[in-house]
Symmetry: C2
DNA sequence: GTCTATAGGAAGATAGAC
DNA sequence: GTCTATCTTCCTATAGAC
């Protein structure tokens, strides 16, 4: 077989992910992505013949898979709702590095090309997250309508806090948002 | 005096604003901005010698001024809190075109250059909006700590709903967010 | 104040050696 | 699988006529 890969597929994807999350799609130039990966541009094209758009798609798909396993599956799993929510919030805290890492769903939604190319998966992910939140809220005793509303509020708080943290630099806002999400899903303060 | 301007200063700023809000800073190329303005690139440089960065700064400042007059001033004005909140939410609904127009504070926070250049004003705007929300929440009878938290939640819901609308295409989420913000600020559901 | 034309550079992408 | 070198296109920005 040929020469070994200079960098593991998973590690490569992780580094590209970080870059896209930090600067967004348009500002993530191939030079920047190559530097982050520790590879030259031509090597990136060997792994992703479709170029930057394919990289972003792969990154988005990978994030979707992670969210699936670490958050959605937990929310829809067995056990008391309080426990499921706590576990999912822990996963989200890790997923967003305590609020310091932006959400791809927001960062990849900008730009002309980007918008059209990534919108389907972005829409799907918002939908799946909202459904899972609603599911656990219903299991926690909230009515159908209330549960759906609590779920949408949870997604808003999650996304909004990430935007706020990025704008203010105060990552404690993210922790506060997680607490609000917990209250919303478990139907406290009604 | 010389030849008349092909386009009014206010109208020019409005068109640049729309472009930045739609595609973000990096994707807003001078060609795109020039087309939106109905001018050639060289003409844009005549109005904004500092180039794209100066355009974005002007757009951001203009948005800050609008928010000041139409929202912050109203929130901190006279009259019953319910009325002030209602008026401010109406202004926000217009400001964000019913959720269909993104927030500059989010769209200009991406990218490397962008980040450093616009961060001061973005931070300030988040701070001012949060303070004004907290002020009206306190006037509505909430305690200092509760009012501050309600204010941060309001900003999160506002920003988060705009992200969600952009990702899902469902602008009714924005209206729902405005209702949640009203409840949060006026201390309902406690 | 607006335009045409163009400079100078960085972007995305490819060819081909090793 | 990774590299150097290169191509082409688009970008930001400027010069100078009208």
């Amino acid at each position: 077989m040929g020469r070994a890969q200079a960098i593991d597929d998973d590690e490569l994807l992780a580094r590209l992910t970080t870059t896209f999350r930090e600067v967004g799609y348009e500002a993530a130039s191939l030079s920047l992505l190559a530097d982050a990966a520790g590879l030259k541009k031509a090597s990136l094209y060997h792994r992703f013949p479709g170029g930057k758009e394919e990289m972003a798609q792969a990154v988005l798909q990978s994030a979707a898979d992670s969210l699936d396993v670490q958050v959605l599956h937990v929310l829809e799993g067995e056990g008391p709702p309080e426990r499921r929510v706590a576990q999912a919030l822990d996963a989200l805290k890790r997923f967003y590095a305590g609020g310091k890492q932006a959400c791809l769903l927001n960062m990849l939604a900008a730009g002309h090309i980007a918008s059209n190319a990534f919108t389907p998966m972005i829409t799907t992910m918002f939908d799946r997250l909202t459904r899972s939140f609603a599911r656990v809220a219903r299991d926690a005793g909230q009515g159908e309508g209330q549960a759906r509303m609590a779920a949408r509020r949870a997604v808003m708080l999650l996304q909004g806090s990430l935007v706020m943290v990025r704008g203010t630099g105060d990552s404690s806002l993210f922790d506060e948002a997680l607490e609000m999400i917990r209250s919303s899903l478990l139907g406290e303060g009604e």
